[in-house]
């Protein structure tokens, strides 16, 4: 029996996404707030059931795109009109129509890099280890099983009661998650 200070939380395993969503809603109704669900594919309605709202990825993407675009255009202008102006076939130094393709591409590139690295950073990835991997059955989380983990740091957490709650929600297995 692990002491409370040595466990990360209690995790229940479910067989269908509907059971998981139902369980998540009930757990939140019971007043728990520090919880997370694990699924092998993005389950529709799960984020709402868990009360997850905030997502900074679109904002980061927008900022990345603007940086790429504005930066790209002004870089070309700086090169062509300020730092090393050259007479290229009598074309104007500020050849802004010619600068459009590169500006566009850099906008897309900036936005894409921000989206991906922003998502990874906000998710805290790469994160090679997490306590939930200590549960052996958790390897099914990437195949066909759904998990709900109520973390020990939640003020309402109580080992036996929380485990009983999960059992009552038809969890197939309930495991204590060792912290390390």
């Amino acid at each position: 029996m692990l002491h409370r200070s040595h466990i990360h939380g209690v995790m229940g395993e479910f067989a269908t996404p509907e059971e998981l969503i139902h369980a998540a809603k009930k757990v939140r109704e019971a007043g728990y707030r520090h919880l997370d669900a694990y699924a092998p594919f993005p389950v529709e309605g799960l984020s709402e059931a868990l009360g997850i709202k905030r997502n900074l990825v679109p904002v980061l993407t927008l900022l990345g795109g603007l940086t790429g675009g504005v930066g790209g255009f002004f870089f070309q202008y700086w090169v062509a009109a300020i730092t090393y102006p050259m007479n290229i076939g009598g074309r104007p130094l500020n050849s802004w129509p010619a600068f459009v393709p590169v500006t566009f591409e850099l906008t897309v590139l900036g936005a894409a890099l921000s989206a991906v690295f922003g998502m990874l950073a906000l998710n805290g990835l790469p994160q090679p280890h997490h306590p939930v991997f200590n549960v052996e059955r958790f390897s099914h989380a990437t195949t066909d099983r759904f998990f709900l983990c109520i973390e020990a740091r939640d003020p309402k957490f109580h080992l036996e009661e929380t485990a009983r709650l999960l059992h009552s929600l038809h969890a197939h297995h309930v495991n204590e998650v060792a912290d390390d």
Binding site: M86, N87, I88, G89, G90, P92
Partner: protein, 408 residues
């Protein structure tokens, strides 16, 4: 060499090769010529304007012991030359027998037809008298003021404005300009094989057009118009366009425009994408496809002009209006604190031209020869409708043939 009519009678012809083609390799039928009890085998070249019923054999080739450059090139016409017929002899047409082989000849311009485009403007004296501006009316030339760009406001060209005028009346196709340019600018000799692939390196070329209204471009498919065509020659160096199409497409900025109007080719920046050559409408740019220069032979180092860079593999090169001579002239003038005088800077091609067909100078100086030539109505730009604004312009050829000669 034979005329098209004679070639048709003999059954010899040309085949344009798939590689190089009209700018490189032509396969010619080989014939065996028997005169004076001996024979020589030669590739036939069909030349419009050659007298009908004559065959010309050039002497001096076919040597077997003439060093690396001279051995085993061409055929030895001396084999059929006898002391009682040193320069000309008659023979029946059975003396020439097609062997059935063909032989690749290097030819840098096989297509002699202008295809309805005004490349080389020509007219008779009456046409010129009726309309002196005839050379500028073939196509709608774009007006200088019509532009989305600030144009002359951004690049005023109010210093020395280098320009060149080439008088097509004077050019007789001698090609001395080609040789002079090659010597002055360290242009490599690439050899027959590379010329057959279309890679000759001459910065100036002399184009040859026939004025016959021929339905075909190919002298080996005979047409009567090719029996006695008028021949015109046009030297084509880099036109140093003010709105150069080549400059715009270089990804690394290896070609840019100087304040005096020269299209500067920066060899050390060139990475060799060849987009500039593709976009040049005049095709005056030359590319070093392989290392054409000889780095090893010490004697050849003495041959080179030390004032001109020797280009290596992978860079584009072209006529520079002999920029090394321009710079020398400018330095001298600055040392003596005076402007450059007209005629002080002479490009290599201009210097050697026997008829003074090429004139180079400062177009901003109203007293220079080139400014006066540019002011003539005969003066036109090659492909002016493309709005490339070339600094090299041509004076249209005006012919005044003697009517007695015409009718004979």
């Amino acid at each position: 060499m034979v005329s098209p009519k004679t070639a048709q009678k003999l059954g010899v012809g040309h085949n344009v090769a798939g590689s190089g083609g009209e700018h490189g390799k032509i396969y010619s039928d080989v014939a065996e010529i028997s005169l004076a009890n001996s024979k020589v085998t030669a590739a036939m070249w069909i030349l419009p304007g050659q007298a009908e019923g004559t065959v010309v054999l050039p002497l001096g080739y076919g040597r077997t012991r003439a060093g690396y450059t001279g051995s085993n090139k061409g055929f030895n016409a001396y084999a059929v030359r006898t002391s009682n017929a040193l320069w000309a002899t008659g023979a029946s047409s059975s003396a020439i027998r097609k062997t059935g082989d063909d032989y690749p000849l290097a030819c840098t311009q096989y297509h002699f037809n202008m295809e309805g485009r005004q490349i080389l403007a020509t007219g008779t004296l009456e046409e010129y008298r009726k309309n002196p501006n005839f050379a500028n009316e073939h196509a709608e030339l774009p007006p200088k003021e019509l532009s989305l760009y600030k144009g002359e406001a951004e690049f005023p060209y109010n210093r020395d404005k280098w320009a060149m005028a080439i008088d097509l009346n004077q050019c007789n196709g001698c090609s001395a300009c080609v040789v002079a340019c090659q010597s002055e600018n360290n242009i490599p000799v690439v050899g027959k094989d590379q010329v057959m692939r279309g890679r000759e390196m001459h910065w100036i070329r002399v184009d040859r057009y026939y004025s016959a209204q021929s339905p075909t471009n190919d002298p080996s498919s005979y047409s009567a118009a090719l029996d006695n065509p008028e021949t015109f020659f046009q030297p084509v160096p880099c036109q140093q366009c003010e709105n150069a199409p080549c400059e715009q497409v270089c990804p690394v900025g290896a070609t840019a425009h100087s304040a005096e109007g020269l299209n500067d080719m920066v060899y050390n920046r060139c990475v060799g994408t060849r987009y500039c050559s593709n976009n040049c409408p005049y095709k005056v740019r030359r590319f070093n496809f392989l290392r054409f220069q000889d780095w090893e032979t010490p004697q050849l180092k003495l041959m080179r002009n030390p004032e001109v860079t020797v280009r290596s593999r992978g860079v584009m090169e072209k006529c520079t209006y002999c920029v090394q001579r321009i710079n020398t002239g400018r330095i001298e003038a600055e040392k003596q604190n005076r402007p450059i005088r007209d005629g002080e800077i002479v490009t290599a091609c201009e210097a050697v031209c026997p008829t003074q067909a090429i004139v180079f100078g400062n177009a901003n100086d109203p007293n220079s020869r080139v400014a006066k030539l540019r002011a003539q109505q005969r003066n036109y730009s090659l492909l002016g409708e493309l709005n490339a604004r070339p600094r090299t312009t041509y004076l249209a050829a005006v012919r005044n043939p003697n009517p007695e000669l015409e009718n004979s």
